[in-house]
């Protein structure tokens, strides 16, 4: 079943067409990677889906429902979560609180009038936050202020925040950008683990081809805002157009 569909999606910035008539379908339990050279429109596409940007034309449907008129938080509430390219965390809050913020939104909705409820009573929130921190391996650092974490752990926390909002679809924008090789490896392991454990559908935007080919079910190749190829890792590996446009003809 199609979880996410984009229908003739176009985004123009002035004269520049960043996303050009993209029809993308992501099925449930599918792992899709979006690749393409710099400026291919990958991040724009993600930002359109998360409602950070308004499309010029076209429709985006999640679980069959159009989301182009919604606020970003409403899209998250319906089950689309995003991990950012940089470690977008809450630096002054503890690791535990970082996870709890996201868990709060998942458990209690986008808004409530519970300003006189002591947070120790939010048992569901504590459990989700604890489970998530356990999953990303940060539970033993729960009381550390987030800004004191090393960079790799901040990125793990960032993914943890995205997971704690209990998404059906996780969009990951270059989860290994700026990481050391060791950190990259452990993040890939983390993604693999999450994939196993939570049976998550995700869309990954990534530069590192090794990662893309190892963890995707399907790869979508963008160039100048257009989808130029789509298929399994093996099909993409053999696609001449992809090698020409994106990989510069280098054999993989």
């Amino acid at each position: 079943m199609a979880l996410l569909e984009t229908d003739g999606l176009v985004k123009e910035f002035g004269g520049l067409v960043a996303t050009d008539d993209v029809n993308l379908t992501v099925n449930e339990d599918e792992r899709v990677s979006i690749i393409g050279p710099n400026g291919a429109g990958k991040s724009t596409l993600i930002n359109l889906i998360t409602r950070r940007l308004d499309p010029t034309e076209g429709d985006i449907r999640f679980k069959g429902e159009s989301i182009v008129k919604m606020e970003p938080h409403e899209v998250v509430q319906r089950g689309v979560s995003k991990s950012f390219q940089t470690a977008s965390i809450f630096p002054d809050l503890t690791v535990r609180e970082n996870a709890e913020i996201a868990a709060l939104a998942a458990e209690r909705g986008s808004f409530g009038f519970d300003f006189l409820t002591h947070r120790r009573k939010l048992h569901g929130v504590h459990e989700v936050a604890a489970d998530t921190l356990d999953a990303v391996g940060l539970l033993d650092r729960a009381e550390t202020p987030a800004e004191d974490l090393p960079y790799g752990d901040k990125r793990r926390l960032e993914i943890g925040i995205a997971l704690a909002s209990e998404p059906d679809l996780l969009l990951m924008d270059e989860p290994t950008a700026g990481m050391s090789p060791e950190e990259t490896r452990s993040t890939v392991d983390l993604i693999e683990e999450v994939k196993e454990r939570m049976g998550l559908t995700f869309v990954l935007v990534e530069h590192d081809m090794e990662i893309v080919f190892s963890i995707s079910d399907r790869i979508v190749v963008l160039n100048r805002g257009r989808v130029i190829a789509e298929g399994t890792p093996d099909e993409i590996r053999g696609d001449e157009q992809v090698q020409e446009a994106y990989l510069g003809g280098v054999e993989l």
Partner: protein, 395 residues
């Protein structure tokens, strides 16, 4: 730090809360124990403050304090406490909180006149505070709705503009109600609970400690305000406010309606300003036009930052220090060498603005977390640095 808190759980944990905290989240049991401590300490302070400040031998002589100023300090303290929920915790700088302070002061005064002249009863302080606060809440809802359309400096400017509109409205077009430049003089405050005259002395030892019923009422409102504010900080709101301050975009992208939480932060801080403004009317039996002027908005910002924005008690301390300079230091005629008659500087008190300005600059330069933050650092140094349990809940 986390090791210590986990040990504490293992040794002395109450099993009743054990289910949720099973996986290393020990902080909440400490929170539970801290709430009565914070409220109790506030109550104790409120109980002895006027005595120490205005009547205690030697100490009050040095401090030069007086009863009325002690009351005024608590009133501004409530205002600063609520303002800090917006500035220190949510990270929104309103430059128009005079609208809620002065607005509720006028609402309280006008209501008391209306009750006395048209309804035929003298409104007691409780109902006056309720009416004034309600007015401030509704006003904050409206102004917040309009001002929060824009972020950053534009938000500040919008709040300033709306507050100045209120000032001009009450200075001329509405002067029939507000008394214009003369201020509102027809305040009629009844007895507390219909029994106790506000200016009369409290019985026996309470009279020695707290002085008047008026102070006792203001003190009670202060304790209630601290309790409510502390609870808000430990509620989901406290976390969401700080999340918005830290990273507004991320807060939106975990699925929280940032706009509505910001509006609530604005309204809640407006409510505290409303309580304070109403008490100000009761305290002074008069509403000056000045109470809506932009300088009041500026003063509350200075108080909060001086004392320490982003802490529970810092802004209240800042309010106290500000008022001390304004009312006591300004009255010191000559600066002398202590215990002698050697005059160092004549007309010392006239420089109180300058002194306060220098103090403000020094604090902002060297102690960005304010004077309260400085105290916390000193205490942590003395006690060996572990403050996870002490600062965790309200940081």
């Amino acid at each position: 730090m986390s090791d210590e808190t986990q040990d504490a759980t293992a040794q002395g944990a109450a099993p009743s809360e054990g289910v949720a905290e099973k996986e290393g989240f020990a902080g909440y049991e400490l929170d539970t124990a801290r709430e009565p401590v914070v409220v109790g300490a506030t109550a104790l302070f409120v109980l002895v403050f006027p005595y120490v400040f205005a009547r205690m031998p030697v100490v009050s002589g040095i401090l030069q304090g007086y009863q009325g100023l002690a009351t005024l300090m608590l009133i501004w303290g409530i205002f600063a406490l609520g303002f800090d929920l917006l500035l220190g915790y949510t990270g929104l700088l309103s430059f128009g909180h005079a609208a809620f302070w002065g607005g509720s002061a006028y609402a309280a005064g006008v209501f008391s006149q209306f009750a006395a002249e048209s309804l035929g009863f003298e409104a007691g302080p409780v109902i006056i505070v309720v009416v004034g606060t309600l007015f401030a809440v509704l006003l904050a809802w409206g102004l917040g709705f309009l001002s929060l359309r824009r972020g950053g400096i534009y938000f500040s400017i919008l709040t300033l503009a709306f507050a100045q509109m209120m000032f001009y409205l009450s200075s001329a077009p509405l002067s029939g109600i507000t008394g214009g430049e003369n201020g509102f003089t027809a305040v009629t405050v009844g007895h507390l609970f219909g029994v106790f005259e506000l200016e009369s002395e409290l019985p026996s030892v309470l009279g020695t400690l707290m002085g008047t019923w008026l102070y006792a009422f203001v003190g009670l409102m202060t304790v209630v305000s601290v309790a409510v504010a502390y609870r808000i900080l430990n509620s989901p709101y406290g976390m969401v406010f700080r999340a918005i301050r830290e990273n507004e975009q991320r807060t939106e992208f975990v699925g929280l309606n940032v706009w509505r939480y910001k509006l609530m932060s604005f309204v809640i801080s407006g409510a505290f300003a409303g309580v304070a403004g109403s008490l100000f009317t009761i305290h002074g039996n008069y509403v000056p036009l000045q109470s809506l002027y932009w300088t009041e908005s500026g003063e509350i910002v200075i108080m909060a930052v001086l004392g320490g924005a982003g802490s529970l008690f810092g802004p209240m301390l800042g309010a106290g220090i500000y008022l001390y300079f304004e009312n006591i230091v300004s009255g010191v005629r000559d600066l002398t060498v202590p215990f002698t008659d050697i005059v160092l500087l004549q007309g010392f008190g006239e420089y109180w603005h300058l002194l306060l300005g220098v103090l403000f600059v020094l604090v902002v330069w060297f102690f960005p977390r304010g004077i309260w933050g400085l105290f916390q650092d000193l205490r942590n140094r003395v006690t060996g640095g572990d403050s996870a349990a002490e600062t965790g809940g309200e940081r």
